[in-house]
Symmetry: C2
């Protein structure tokens, strides 16, 4: 392995190292303390070899494979995991490792956070989206009655291992969608990373993009672990994006035919950024999105998107917190009414 | 209200005030921030008026009454509570209040800790045991497959309200059992409080006992919130006590006929202290236990108690961590084998 980058995230909830490097999965035994009972949680969509690499480095591994998709983020699956490790005799001194995308990390991390009031948690994200985003920040959760992450905790991992080699099994469209989350961070917080995208080098210099995105997220999380303020900057593109995702998204882990008809999370964010920036920023975003084969317009009716992005009546009354980018590498928070958001969408997605 | 005592517990997880005073339940609206959606969790055994006092002080109350007993500390009831408040539109800015004993506090606190990754939690303990013990310390949990507190969190409350007047509805036997938990703390950590018991004034000076016990627990918790070391002092009397409770205990909240035949938690602790102290300490403990009508001997076979107090095979191999009191107001940790514990029981409970 040529380059290995090591970052340390420091928060009130605890400090933890993130190691980024090609081939690092083979060194998992030196990065995590696995000389104990180790629950390895993965899902059916993750190549089996990745979970096995972790299991073979553990003294007493127990691999549990959950069904792919958001459906696994449930109280029922959480209870099943806790019961499995109780039956296997796990004590407070044992640990949990997630090997998969955001669903697996959220679920396994939440199980680790509640079992015996918290046992060690490690994360090996295997999608680009989870490598640049959800594996760092300490948010874990399951869903309830269709509300994403309704029930969860802030529970930092002990360590995170990011091996870009595992991305080689991902389809190109999923790489683009993951890159869009890094592009989003570049737009608000890192003009140099944005330039790398403009030069068309993002995919080729993937490790560099991952490390840059992690550094942005690290600094945001260190300042605002509990999402009291600054952390909302990560929601750039997510207000309108969320509305679009509700209407046209699909579960990232669902069957291939669903993917063909629906939009990836990152694709929804691509669309969601366009109304929330100045004309000048939009003019720079559009060619990047096109080069990555990300969408730049939507046929969805504006009123339906607006209805979907309003979560509750209160939001309608008091306004919706959004993130706006006037100039690459900067941002401001802005509370907008639903109709103001609609007006911005008219600008970004003109009727043909 | 004549005397009001206010303590502040300071831990890494957060600081919170504990207010102790007769009649304070009537002032709940000034002590807690209830100008929002407020889930009030209580159980069928708690006088309805107590939960109603809290509900009437809240802007938007929702009272949920769970069945009495440990059975309510389950994933199923936890999920039910989360669903109820989701349906009622609770956001991150709303709150939960527990009104009841340890079961209600543990359950409601855990629900508050996980809903939206944590909303404000307040506790109004209504049993003496929960007033002197479980309401302070930030441990919340549910049970899994018969393992108590298998799944939970460390989640400090925002504030605790302790009104000794609510104890007037408790039977005398339950008061004695609650006092025993305070006596346990006095034995290890507060010779003056122990003297108050010896003088036979504990029941009469209940508020003073509560405040003294809270101060002991506060200092222990402040030093060792996560139970890495010192906090184990609170387990004095609990090793043998737990074995006895497994065999002869009953659910504190079960039907009255079960109570008559079984032992209260505090009664098990009374018995559990006797083998774990010097002869001199035992000679001082016995008259206090008798005066409080707490048990001082057991007809249970020693080998059955020993089998019940060993939780897992590992404990048998590596020894069991216990707390020993040589002199009132002091303690030491000691790792004993099962047969060493048996020998101490022979001394404390001689065959007739």
């Amino acid at each position: 392995m040529s380059n290995v980058t090591r970052l340390t995230v420091r928060t009130a909830g605890g400090s933890y190292p993130i190691t980024v490097g090609r081939g690092m999965l083979g060194a998992v035994g030196t990065l995590f303390s696995l000389d104990r009972r180790t629950l390895v949680v993965t899902d059916e969509g993750v190549p089996r070899a990745y979970a096995e690499a972790v299991a073979s480095a553990a003294a007493k591994p127990l691999v549990v494979t959950v069904p792919t998709g958001e459906g696994s983020k449930s109280f029922a699956v959480l209870e099943m995991l806790c019961r499995k490790i109780l039956d296997a005799g796990f004590t407070r001194r044992d640990c949990v490792v997630a090997v998969g995308g955001g669903v697996v990390g959220d679920l396994a991390g939440f199980a680790a956070s509640v079992y015996m009031r918290g046992i060690d948690f490690y994360n090996v994200p295997t999608t680009l989206l989870s490598q640049v985003d959800s594996s760092i920040g300490g948010k874990v959760a399951v869903n309830l009655d269709g509300i994403k992450n309704c029930v969860g905790a802030f529970y930092p991992p002990r360590a995170v291992l990011i091996d870009p080699d595992v991305l080689s099994t991902l389809p190109r469209r999923q790489i683009s969608a993951g890159l869009c989350e890094a592009l989003k961070m570049a737009a608000t917080s890192d003009a140099a990373l944005f330039s790398l995208f403009e030069e068309g080098n993002a995919e080729e210099r993937l490790e560099e993009v991952i490390v840059a995105a992690l550094n942005i997220k690290k600094s945001v999380v260190e300042e605002d672990e509990r999402e009291a303020g600054l952390r909302r900057v990560l929601n750039f593109g997510h207000t309108v994006g969320h509305g679009i995702e509700t209407l046209a998204g699909f579960d990232e882990n669902e069957a291939t035919d669903a993917r063909e008809n629906g939009l990836y999370h990152g694709e929804c964010v691509a669309l969601g950024m366009l109304p929330m920036c100045s004309d000048a920023v939009r003019a720079r975003l559009l060619p990047i999105l096109r080069a990555l084969a990300l969408p730049t317009s939507t046929a969805l009716p504006k009123d339906k998107i607006l209805a979907a992005l309003v979560h509750d009546k209160k939001a309608e009354a008091t306004g919706i917190g959004t993130v706006f980018v006037d100039k690459i590498g900067s941002f401001r928070f802005e509370t907008l009414t639903v109709s103001e958001i609609g007006a911005r969408m008219d600008t970004a997605f003109p009727q043909k």
